[in-house]
């Protein structure tokens, strides 16, 4: 087996933090997120010389999302142990970032894998409909309809703009 090329290691060092956050949004768990990221990188590494020329991050992102969808298809989406349970904003202190984070994560995690991927790619990664369809290997129309369904499903489950503006931001963030 060849050693990792410096370019790949540089890519991992530079882009992993962002990809890990994306993986966390997909999985909702830090251990699974790291597992998902490593799975994707391990798939990409042997082909790095072929893919590194043209938009390597897009390729890694695609592998990451598809790996997650593949996990989902294996029907393992049971509960994970957590130290704290996410609480609805009405019952918990809504002015703590951690609560906002947990509520958002729980709402996103409740979406089917494909819709979750669309939400993360479009609204976290800021990809266009066309770029998202390229990553997911589907038509732009499918991305639009998945986006629509996802936003419908998220309605009412997310913290409000009011909460964001007055209580959800970190100090200095």
């Amino acid at each position: 087996m060849r050693d990792a090329t410096p370019d790949f290691e540089e890519f991992v060092a530079a882009r992993s933090p962002r990809l890990l956050r994306m993986a966390w949004l997909l999985t909702g768990d830090p251990h699974l997120a790291e597992d998902l990221l490593q799975t994707a990188l391990a798939k990409v590494w042997p082909r790095w010389e072929q893919i590194s020329i043209d938009r390597p991050e897009a390729y890694v992102r695609r592998v990451l999302v598809n790996s997650h969808v593949s996990w989902w298809r294996r029907r393992w989406h049971g509960e994970l142990p957590h130290d704290r349970l996410p609480e609805p904003p009405t019952d918990a202190d809504p002015f703590e970032d951690v609560v906002v984070g947990q509520v958002v994560a729980a709402a996103v995690r409740a979406l089917p894998a494909r819709q979750r991927a669309v939400v993360v790619l479009r609204f976290f990664e800021d990809l266009s409909v066309e770029e998202t369809s390229e990553v997911l290997g589907c038509s732009p129309g499918t991305v639009k309809s998945q986006t629509h369904r996802a936003l419908q499903a998220l309605r009412g489950k997310m913290p409000t703009r009011e909460l964001l503006l007055h209580g959800g931001h970190r100090d200095g963030a």
């Binding site: 990792a4 933090p17 966390w24 949004l25 990188l41 970032d97 732009p140 309809s145 629509h148």
Partner: protein, 296 residues
């Protein structure tokens, strides 16, 4: 959420403001996680493991006809017995449930020769220390009535990782020839009963020789953590996978032992049993050698 509604084809069914709000929320929610120092080493290890699996799958497909004939010819000896039966080391037929396999609980020296090419695991009446010769003599303590099996590596190339594996389970185990073919491939080891019973557990151990991993994992005493169940676990009825690492001073140098447990149910009893196995990983002391499967 508010805003424009409805046309699913416009891609912005609830309006740009709400989309911006969602962007902010997602960025707020996603934590800045700490990266493990050994991420690259783990990626290398996973890539090597995947390559090996693919090679094994290709080999299995190519030899499917021959292996099928071999299995049919050896069917009487390989057919799984009723639950609870086990083979004595070196024997060719199941012994009666509840009987003590001759020599199964006898103490063995570190240099003792492995059992003669068994295709099934042996049971341990009283549990206790078991040595995996193929894993540089790694020893674990297993619960009473558990089974154990050691599988040598088949990769002749010098990779970052060693592919030999040690197995222990709450149910009898069989080697590759006794495992069903799924999608053209067979697991190296599977449960003789075909699936985990309620409360059943299958634990696999791998010795990682990657110097980067061993260097960075030195002194590893971290707890078990949940991982996504591997396909090999799910097909045997597993619903949860636990993983953990321990560093040992193997005869060939420091090495990291990766433990992966496939659980039917992750109740407190099961998790505690796996934790005890993880915490018992060592390389010194007396133990019974796990039978070694002959390379296929």
């Amino acid at each position: 959420m508010t805003g424009r509604e409805s046309d699913p084809d416009d891609g912005r069914p609830t309006g740009p403001e709400v989309e911006d709000e969602l962007r902010i929320l997602l960025h707020l929610a996603a934590p800045h996680l700490t990266a493990p120092d050994d991420r690259m080493a783990r990626v290398r290890e996973r890539a090597a493991r995947t390559r090996r699996r693919r090679r094994t799958a290709a080999l299995s497909t190519g030899l499917a006809v021959g292996l099928t004939a071999a299995v049919l010819a050896a069917a009487p000896a390989l057919a799984p017995g009723p639950p609870g039966t086990a083979l004595a080391p070196g024997s060719s037929g199941p012994v009666a449930p509840g009987s003590v396999p001759p020599g199964a609980s006898a103490s063995a020296s570190p240099g003792a020769a492995p059992s003669a090419s068994p295709s099934r695991s042996t049971g341990s009446d009283t549990g206790g220390p078991v040595r995996f010769p193929e894993l540089d003599g790694v020893i674990i303590d297993i619960p009473p009535d558990w089974y154990r099996l050691s599988v040598p590596g088949t990769d002749s190339r010098k990779d970052d990782t060693a592919y030999a594996r040690g197995y222990t389970a709450s149910q009898p185990l069989v080697g590759e020839l006794g495992c069903p073919t799924r999608n053209g491939t067979r697991e190296r080891v599977c449960l003789a009963d075909g699936a985990l019973d309620a409360g059943g557990m299958l634990v696999g151990l791998t010795l990682v020789r990657d110097p980067v991993v061993t260097g960075e994992q030195k002194g590893q005493t971290g707890p078990l953590f949940y991982a996504v169940p591997e396909k090999s676990c799910v097909v045997q009825g597993g619903t949860r996978t636990l993983r953990g690492y321990r560093t040992v001073q193997a005869p060939s140098g420091p090495a990291v032992v990766e433990l992966t447990a496939c659980l039917r149910v992750s109740d407190a009893v099961s998790v505690l049993a796996v934790e005890r196995i993880l915490d018992s990983i060592r390389v010194t002391g007396g133990a019974v050698d796990a039978p070694t499967i002959a390379p296929e």
